[in-house]
Amino acid sequence: MAGLSRRTILTAAAASPVVLRHARGETPIKIGMPVALTGPAGEIGTQMRHGAEFWAKETNAAGGILGRPIELIIQDTTGDPATCVRKAQDVVERDGCRLLFGMTLSSEALAVVPKLGEWNAIFMSSDNGDGRLTGSSFVPNFFRANISGPMETRVISLWLRQGKLGKFFALGMDYAWGHNSIGVFQDEVKRAGKTFVGDVYSPIGTKDFSTYITKIRQSGADGCFLVLQGDDNAAFLSQARDYRLQDKVQLITSIVDLNSIHAVGDAAIGLAGSTRYVATIDNPKNQAFVAAWQKQYNALPDVFEGEQYQACKMLQAGIEEAKSIDADKLRPALESAKIDSIKGPVAMRACDHQAVQGGYIVKVVKKDGAKFPVPEIVTTFPGDQVTPACRQMTFDS
Amino acid sequence: MPLLELRGLTKRYGGILAVDQVTMSVEPGEVRAVIGPNGAGKTSLFHLITGVVKATEGDVLFDGQRVTAMPAFGRCQLGMSRTFQITALFPEMSARENTSLAAQARDKQRWRPLGGGSVFAEAQRRGDAALERLGLTHVADRPAGLLSHGDQRLLEVAMALAQQPRLLLMDEPTQGLSVEETAQAVDVLAGLFASSDLTVLLVEHDMEVVFRLARKITVLHRGAVIADGDPEAVKADATVQSAYLGGYV
């Protein structure tokens, strides 16, 4: 539950950073985090906040960065770009943050990014999927530690190349993310020598998907690519199950996350798709992370929690390398930052500030004893295959 | 030439004939009353003249000009001012603001969105004159909604007067007033009509009021005119007596 005082969270409540600060006279590293905690994107925003808080606490317990404690300043944007800009301005101009996390929605990020230069602030994105942020809207102070939308789609298409499905339909939310992702998907399907039979876009906030389900059935496709999120995603999956759509068509989604699975329960079974992070990734770093996470939150870390943690680690690596949080010193350090992340090796690219990393395909299965279905990793693809060329949103091969 | 002329004016609501082939006229300087029992079509006729509803057939002529298709505000601009059966005022404005706003409607610059001090001054001058003629000067600064019923009725007349109308149309001027209030209002109106050359058309069902105020009377029955003339002549008319006055006279 939300704490009442969030204005300033000296995250390690156990007083260690305070002690550190007094003992060494070190000023904290302030990181501003305007993030959607309420409103339709509140689910994702809340995950991002958990991820950042977990990292800050862990890092402060280990003595902070450069001996300085981390102070997160988290503000609710309600998922509204106008509010987001205001809050970002607040944490930068009032609280003096020169490092930013958050901006849950791509529309928020697109609104904030042009101001980074003026503020001389670095923004490390952990969830913005819009390809243009590292493409046409690129600015030098923006870094993306997470997998982008085009990368997700690429992972799926690489997987489909190996599979038996031959005819595809696509359903996306009627906004930039949906259109961009389906555009990439369409290219990839054709390149793989398979058929793309059509696409349709549902307005944000659609509650009744029966018409779209009819369209998918009529298309004769054996696979349907979904670019849906939040309430729309849950509504579609629930209703698709009601119509037994999964019996005829393999549903493939761009993001598989635990929250959605919990929201629709068994309707998620059989769903396949890419994921940005999943708790079952098999490496020691991740196992340690998951264990520590479970100890604190008594739950498995979800997609945006893992992604946020990775973004934090990326920023930390940059700061430690630069020995400074000044944007001009930090930027080159981040441009060559390489970390051994919970997802394995992840390297930031200097040319467009996109982190190169591997992608995962998961399938949702029912497991005995588990209350909800769980995603299982089907296959993984290495970073050099899933990351587009610099500042590009599409793939050449 | 008559100031107001109705030619074969007819109004049907579905199958119901509310006003049937009414032809009548009001000469300049005349005070004329339209009377008739309930349901005779007085109010419908009034609506046709003021332009609130459109005629099914026939014509309305004002000063020789056909105004049948003209909307209400247009007729008012030509010089027809009216009062309502149920008093219609701007209750939160003072009496003076009421008459002033009425007078302003006659100003060419009534719509001026900026400045307009001269417009207000002229309108207020005319409005105050109207208030004085109806003996309302002492309540000029009170909100209209707080005036007595009788004063409210007179204020409405003052608003019409402030427009310096060529034709004053009154819909049941004493409707809803007590006996004493009616008597007072009729006194004031009678004095007003006597001291001016106003042309007035009033619709009224109270016979005493009609005979005190009107010089000419038109009698309506089931939507049609059955008599027209001087009060004495109308009183004596046999058709009118049987149709309407009954045992009254």
């Binding site: 770009p81 106008a82 301005q89 607040d90 101009e93 042009p114 930039a176 | 505000f73 219609a88 207000f120």
Partner: protein, 305 residues
């Protein structure tokens, strides 16, 4: 008038003493204030309650955004042009909406606003669809000055727009035209029968209201550097109506205070707690219960004591 000058001087001096973040917030508050004031022209003076005033704001913002993105027209002129454009479009909107009165009028404005929202979502080349227009610059000029592009300069531009609009709106409501509007507010049928073509007056006031609302939107686009569909959404229409009511309708000053109050309280509350909406909602309910005629009503009662 003396009061107006005193406030103007005070606001003009503020940049000397306020930290940058407060300047930013204040600028946004003044933009909102202009927006709320523009709605008061309709709601407070002609009882034309609009549920779709975001249309004015969004129109202004998109128009200004496009001008700034695609031309070199100096910032202040672009803002004015966008305001005027919004007012011109409003003539068409008002022509349709004034076919109805009362609640139906409100609903028509809502329908128009939402239709515009739906259109903006699809008209990618002009509105950027769901992404909106990003990176809207503050162009130079007039005479090549970059002053209006700076934080302080933009603040003064906003202030000038607010005060100019306020003086304009005040002159309008005190003019013969304004007197007719009050007539419409209190008794439209009577006003019509006095010989006023009330529908034209209503169309005119809606156009003026949209023009000033468009001006506010036009300021917002270069202020935030972006314009998106949220600026056309009915939620904003609802919020600005609340700002007008909180401030006190039919006062012009009230809605300005209401908007500043709304924005600052929401901003401050959400800084201190996630559950700001709980407190914010309670404030509204308490406000209605105990301060029925808005901030201005409260001020008036204070003075009366």
């Amino acid at each position: 008038m003396r009061m107006t000058i005193a406030v103007a001087v005070l606001l003009a001096l503020l940049p000397l003493g306020l930290p940058p973040y407060a300047m930013t917030l204040l600028t946004e508050a003044l933009i909102m204030a202009l927006f709320a004031m523009s709605l008061d022209l309709m709601v407070g003076y002609a009882r034309l309650i609009s549920f779709g005033h975001a249309a004015a704001y969004g129109l202004g913002a998109y128009t200004c955004g496009n001008i700034l993105l695609h031309t070199d027209i100096p910032l202040p002129f672009a803002v004015l042009m966008a305001g005027v454009f919004s007012g011109v479009v409003a003539i068409g909107v008002a022509w349709v909406c004034t076919l109805a009165t009362g609640v139906s009028f409100s609903m028509l404005t809502l329908a128009f606003g939402q239709l515009l929202y739906a259109v903006a979502f699809k008209w990618t080349s002009v509105t950027g669809a769901s992404d909106g227009l990003a990176g809207i610059p503050r162009t130079k000029g007039p005479f090549g000055t970059a002053f209006f592009g700076t934080k302080t300069g933009f603040y003064y531009l906003t202030m000038a727009c607010l005060f100019g609009s306020f003086l304009f709106a005040r002159a309008v409501v005190r003019s013969p035209f304004g007197a007719v509007l009050r007539g419409i507010r209190e008794n439209e049928a009577k006003t019509l029968s006095l010989g006023y073509n009330t529908r034209l007056y209503k169309i005119a006031v809606v156009a003026m209201s949209y023009m000033l609302g468009g001006l506010a939107g036009a300021l917002y686009a270069p202020f935030a550097g972006f314009a998106n569909t949220e600026l056309l959404f009915w939620l904003l229409s609802g919020q600005v109506l609340i700002m007008v009511i909180v401030g006190g309708t039919g006062t012009l000053v009230g809605p300005i205070l209401g908007a500043v109050f709304f924005l600052l309280v929401q901003q401050q509350l959400s800084t201190y707690t996630d559950s700001w909406a709980l407190v914010f909602g309670a404030i509204f309910i308490l406000f209605v219960l105990f301060v029925p005629d808005g901030i201005m009503g409260l001020a008036r009662r204070r003075r009366a004591h």
